[in-house]
Symmetry: C2
Subunit: 345 residues, 2 copies
């Protein structure tokens, strides 16, 4: 029996988004998946043309897909926060992407800026919460523009929201050879939220006696990412700490051109969304300079999420092989072509 | 005319605190300052003995000093947050230490974990806000311990609080050769607070046409600290982002054994407090393994704050010279003795 086609929504977005997404799709087709991509024009261009970021009807249409591939959104011509909040974060929230999965893995052959570390030392997965914390967007401003202005932001954390992502992280840790889970937070200052996170990890740990648990403050963790990355196997953390630490992770694992991510709805009540960690990089857009590797690795995560394990592995192996034999100065297209050739060959 | 003695309150604190503070005091005496130190027993030991963290009477007594030297507070035997909030943060708040000044400077001869960077590339000052943001401690918990628990934390930002630290940062930037100020925040997600910070920097920038200003998101900044630290000269940021990024700064600038800090009340309405960035490190306490350099550099900042510029420079130079001729494996005492000898000699 033929399996049905994968219905994929593609949101190239802004800047280099379209360039890297094109290479991701090339690889996706080459790996032999039956994929039916539909492109959605969302991002800065549409916002300027129509004032829309994500019309409700489009959001509901997207809900019907098997998965979403996103390039990058954001442009300096749009006020900060508009596209991020009304498009990217809205998708994460609407589709309950409570797991923001971000591997921090140094592929052999990729230069790391860390003098003392090698590929053996940098191999972790950050499980970042994706729907709560300071990303809730609550807060406000009073007496704006006066000397008496007050601006607030609120971090909202729920037992429901914390427990489900912590459970996911324990499952991940159990599936890996080292079976180690580190909670990263700032329990000594964010005492209410920190207490909820710490108690949740402690409680769920009882069900995972085979997983070793550990705690590190976010400030110390940032230091350890640089000085002792081998400390970490699976990291679970809140939305904002996860945002910071995964960019730092990208830096130590070969740069933002390599960092993949999945915004995952584990219960599959809505499509999961895969995107490179990098932004739209308007400064190099349209020049063929962007590295599509992060998007291609995000495609591997997408395949894995859809249960196409063998295909996912082939894409990852193609990337690993490509890195080892890298020719310097390749364009976005050339990198995509080289990896595509390996996947098909 | 003889100048009067410097009245110094000394809070050794917990763990390695007492060891590093002893070396700091040795250097302070050797540099020829007339100093009158008074020790205060505050920290985990006192907490366990009497249940007190910082009695009101002690707080008021401390207010009378010219400056405070603090080692480190915190111990695993005390619930997370108690000593941090009721002692360390209470001092910062009560004495209005709105500037938390943290140089990130790689001394020549100190190994950095960054393969591609040298002492020329890593020389910045982080001006961290010290009295607001998520450190306000506001927030709460509802239905604790139930599946319906909600825990919140609030970031409080005021025009008054942001403007004064931004002004201080502009002055700092003006005093340095590169005259560059970078605001680090997360304006695309923390839109209310980010807007206040960004507008304040933009407005005050008008008074500093000689200072170039720049903006970087906290996630990107964490990446750049590792990949392009030379981007930064003076960084101004909020309390939590500053906490994270200065530990990261310590990691790239030779480790936590080197990172100094000043909790500064620029108007001198209360004593400023100087402390190494590192914590109490209970795992190595009492073994003579702690590096007192961070405390000694904090002493240099203390001298500078008190207007003793020449003495401050002598301490910094002694540290720089000590590093170049470092013998490996020295104890806490030996490092202190070596630097003391250079300061006196
Ligand atoms: C663009 C921005 C809203 C986003 C985030 O903060 O989550 C990005 O930095 C990321 O990490 O995916
Ligand atoms: C101990 C802790 C409360 C403190 C902070 O978060 O400010 C420390 O990490 C620091 O940076 O001085």
């Amino acid at each position: 029996m033929e399996s049905r086609n994968i219905r994929l929504a593609v949101i190239p977005g802004d800047g280099i988004g379209a360039e890297v997404v094109a290479e991701g799709l090339k690889v996706l087709e080459a790996v032999g998946t039956k994929i039916e991509p539909t492109h959605y024009d969302l991002g800065a261009a549409r916002y300027h043309r129509t004032g829309e970021t994500l019309p409700d009807a489009v959001l509901e249409e997207l809900r019907g897909y098997d998965a979403i591939l996103l390039g990058a959104v954001g442009d300096p011509s749009v006020p900060p926060g508009v596209l991020e909040r009304d498009l990217l974060l809205r998708l994460r929230f609407a589709f309950d992407h409570y797991v923001n999965l971000r591997p921090v893995k140094l592929f052999p052959g990729v230069p790391t800026p860390l003098a003392g570390s090698s590929a053996d030392d940098i191999d972790m997965i950050v499980v970042r919460e994706g729907t709560e914390g300071l990303y809730a967007g609550t807060g406000g401003v009073m007496r704006r523009g006066t000397p008496h202005e007050i601006a607030t932001q609120e971090s909202l954390n729920t037992a429901h929201g914390v427990e489900r992502v912590v459970r996911y992280a324990f499952e991940k840790a159990r599936s890996r050879p080292r079976k180690k889970l580190t909670l990263v937070h700032k329990t000594n200052v964010l005492t209410y939220a920190g207490d909820l996170w710490q108690r949740t990890v402690d409680r769920v740990a009882g069900e995972y006696p085979d997983v070793a648990t550990d705690y590190t403050h976010i400030d110390a963790a940032s230091m350890f990412f640089v000085s002792q990355p081998e400390r970490f196997d699976v990291v679970v953390t809140d939305n904002l700490f996860g945002d910071i630490i995964t960019d730092l992770g990208a830096a130590i694992a070969g740069g933002i051109g390599m960092a993949a991510s999945g915004n995952i709805n584990p219960e599959r009540t809505a499509p999961s969304m895969f995107e490179p960690v990098h932004g739209s990089a308007p400064d190099i857009a349209g020049q063929g300079k962007a590295d599509p590797t992060a998007t291609i690795l995000s495609v591997a995560m997408l395949l894995d999420h859809l249960g196409l394990r063998a295909e996912a592995a082939r894409v990852e192996q193609a990337v690993a092989a490509d890195i080892v034999e890298r020719r310097p100065g390749r364009s976005t297209h050339e990198i995509g072509d080289d990896i595509t050739a390996r996947v098909s060959g």
